[in-house]
């Protein structure tokens, strides 16, 4: 069965090409069959062809030195392997094995170049960009985000082409609270903290984000200034999408808007949970119940990576860090108080006894006592 233009339009790299060009490809594609367990290609073998799966399942695998095999991905009908080979042939980055009987259509780089020879430079440039980004895994990153994850390959590809990369050193600020919100970010590598300042001007971490998380949707949607500052806690690389491009993507695929809303809704739910927990904790601590807080305090990972934690767990983690600091302050105060609170009362008992003895042993005192006795008796009589 030959490939159709529709099928080809669903392949990331090929979406760049106009339909007329794509139409020239099917006749150059060769059908091949594999049995279950057959190896389509091995890692390291020279690349140079793209394989479009017509039927069956193919596992992308990585063989480790210890003999174990890691399955990186599983591709099925309509999906393609080795797209990047069409732009820049290079050794296969992983192996491919048929998990079931498989039929593929193979396209060589030479045929691809022949077909694309007359294309304008802009198209060639786009091809190179997509290929590059695929190599960098941008498409994969987009696929893993909540907002873009479920989208068709061609949409993802078109969005990916608009991404730019930003690198931040640990401690650098991505944007400040109050900055105009003009871009949307996806974290490729590293971790960042979302912070605001408390009443006293101290930094308050609201949330942490890591690889795979997205940032900045709110500003893209409501155009208000950034609601918090974001600071990298480790060296970080992010993919950035401008507001204009984001809006264009929504127009092309309105479901993106829904996904963006879901993402924001998730943040809101987190915020609500966070606030609830913060109130609970504050109440306990105000009552002096630090044991509750201590039980909850765990070593929170500041490098929260693709976190599948529930909101509550996440809120707890952040509150732990905050209240650990509070507890630290309290402990220091206690220590200080402890040091100062010991008012030492040193009585020289020997000296004391001597002075008392001196006084009570004197004749003066015995006279005094007699006088005192008389006075008391007198007073009692007079009562």
């Amino acid at each position: 069965m030959p490939a159709t233009v529709d099928m080809l339009n669903k392949i990331a790299l090929l979406t760049v090409l106009p339909d007329q060009t794509l139409a020239q490809l099917p006749e150059r594609m060769v059908e091949r069959h594999f049995e279950q367990g057959d190896i389509l290609f091995r890692k390291g073998e020279p690349g140079g062809t793209m394989l479009l799966i017509l039927s069956g399942l193919v596992a992308i695998v990585l063989d480790h030195d210890d003999g174990s095999q890691e399955i990186l991905n599983q591709l099925g009908p309509g999906e393609a392997l080795g797209q990047m080979s069409l732009i820049e042939p290079s050794p296969r980055t992983a192996g491919a094995t048929a998990i079931s009987p498989v039929t593929v259509l193979e396209l060589s780089v030479d045929d691809f170049r022949a077909v694309t020879a007359g294309q304008p430079e802009s198209v060639m440039e786009a091809l190179r960009t997509v290929s590059h980004q695929m190599r960098l895994g941008y498409l994969d990153i987009l696929k893993e985000t909540r907002i873009f994850g479920g989208l068709p390959e061609d949409i993802i590809s078109s969005i990916a082409r608009k991404l730019t990369v930003e690198h931040l050193e640990a401690g650098a600020t991505l944007f400040h609270k109050g900055d105009p919100g003009d871009s949307f970010y996806i974290i490729d590598e590293g971790a960042l903290k979302i912070v605001t300042t408390d009443a006293a001007g101290g930094e308050l971490t609201l949330n942490t984000v890591g690889a795979g998380d997205s940032l900045g949707e709110m500003s893209l949607i409501d155009q208000e200034p950034r609601s918090a500052s974001v600071i990298a806690t480790t060296p970080t690389s992010l993919l950035k999408l401008s507001r204009a491009d984001f809006m264009e993507a929504i127009q092309a695929q309105p479901t993106i808007a829904m996904e963006a809303l879901k993402s924001i809704s998730g943040r809101l739910r987190f915020a609500t949970t966070y606030i609830e927990q913060a109130i609970e904790w504050s109440k306990r601590i105000a009552e002096g119940d630090y044991s509750f807080a201590l039980d909850q305090i765990t070593d929170s990972q500041t490098n929260a990576s693709r976190s599948q934690q529930a909101n509550e767990a996440r809120a707890t983690e952040l509150l732990s860090a905050f209240f650990q600091m509070v507890r630290g302050v309290q402990a220091r105060e206690e220590d200080l108080k402890q040091q100062l609170r010991q008012l030492t009362i040193e009585i020289d008992q020997v000296k004391r006894q001597q002075e008392v003895q001196n006084l009570t042993g004197s004749e003066f005192f015995s006279d005094l006592k007699k006088q005192a006795q008389k006075l008391r008796e007198q007073n009692t009589e007079d009562e």
């Binding site: 008012l343 004391r352 008392v356 005094l368 006592k369 007198q378 009562e383």
Partner: protein
């Protein structure tokens, strides 16, 4: 029959007069019939707190000891003679509070110190006052230290309050005083710690001091800048009843009252 309460301290500067004035005022506010006698002839201090100067004072303890007047004549009725506008003191209007002040006239002071006085006369005066004014409580503000007069005051007292600062010299001196007071069979002995730095744990201090002297602590008064600011111009615990110092003072008054 009215209780005699001696307010004593081993050293000067512990805040005895101020404490006496405040405790007595608290008692008066509770409706008790209270008199204060300033027997610290060398350095009288209570009159200032009630806005009395030489002109307003009238007759003094010195006059009585010299046989010039009766003790009642030397007793200034504070409740009836609130004249100035000190807000704390003003609250004492109509209450049963008297003061037998000591003269602040230099000549009179040196005369008495030189001649001395017969303690029996003082005692008689106190007993008379107690009866005539139908007192519930009679506070004796003593001269600091252990001398004949103070010892005799202790001897006739139902309750002795020793004021001390959290200070090594006061600690040592108070230890001797406590022993002496016990040897004189004073029925009740309580300690008041004054001018305590707020950094101290008061509960801990109370426990430590009670353990050291084997005597109850009626209360701990914090060192207060507000008090210093007041500068003896008014009865602080009446003027600022919600201040921590005043609350501590009210506690002390309650504890003394509880002794019966």
């Amino acid at each position: 029959m009215g209780k005699i309460v001696s307010i004593h301290s081993f050293r000067g500067g512990t805040g005895k007069s101020n404490t006496t004035a405040n405790i007595a005022s608290q008692f008066a506010m509770k409706g008790k019939r209270v008199a204060m006698v300033d027997t610290d002839i060398q350095s009288p201090g209570i009159h200032v707190l009630f806005g009395l100067d030489e002109k307003k004072m009238g007759r003094t303890l010195n006059d009585y000891l010299h046989g010039q007047v009766s003790i009642q004549e030397a007793a200034f009725n504070i409740g009836e003679h609130i004249t100035d506008d000190a807000p704390g003191r003003a609250r004492l209007k109509g209450k049963h509070l008297w003061l037998v002040p000591s003269s602040i006239n230099g000549k009179e002071i040196s005369a008495i110190l030189h001649d001395g006085y017969d303690f029996n006369v003082l005692n008689k005066g106190l007993q008379t006052l107690r009866k005539q004014l139908e007192l519930d409580y009679l506070f004796i503000d003593t001269h600091p230290g252990l001398n004949e007069e103070t010892l005799l005051s202790l001897a006739i007292s139902d309750t002795m309050i020793i004021i001390l600062r959290p200070d090594q010299q006061d600690f040592q001196g108070t230890a001797v005083t406590v022993d002496i007071a016990r040897s004189l069979d004073v029925p009740n002995l309580m300690l008041v710690v004054n001018k305590a730095l707020s950094k101290y744990d008061f509960a801990q201090m109370k426990a430590d001091i009670e353990a050291t002297y084997n005597a109850p602590v009626a209360g701990i008064l914090p060192l207060s800048e507000d008090m210093v600011d007041n500068a003896s111009a008014d009865i602080f615990s009446l003027r600022y009843p919600d201040h921590t110092w005043s609350k501590a003072m009210q506690g002390i008054a309650d504890n003394i009252l509880a002794l019966g």
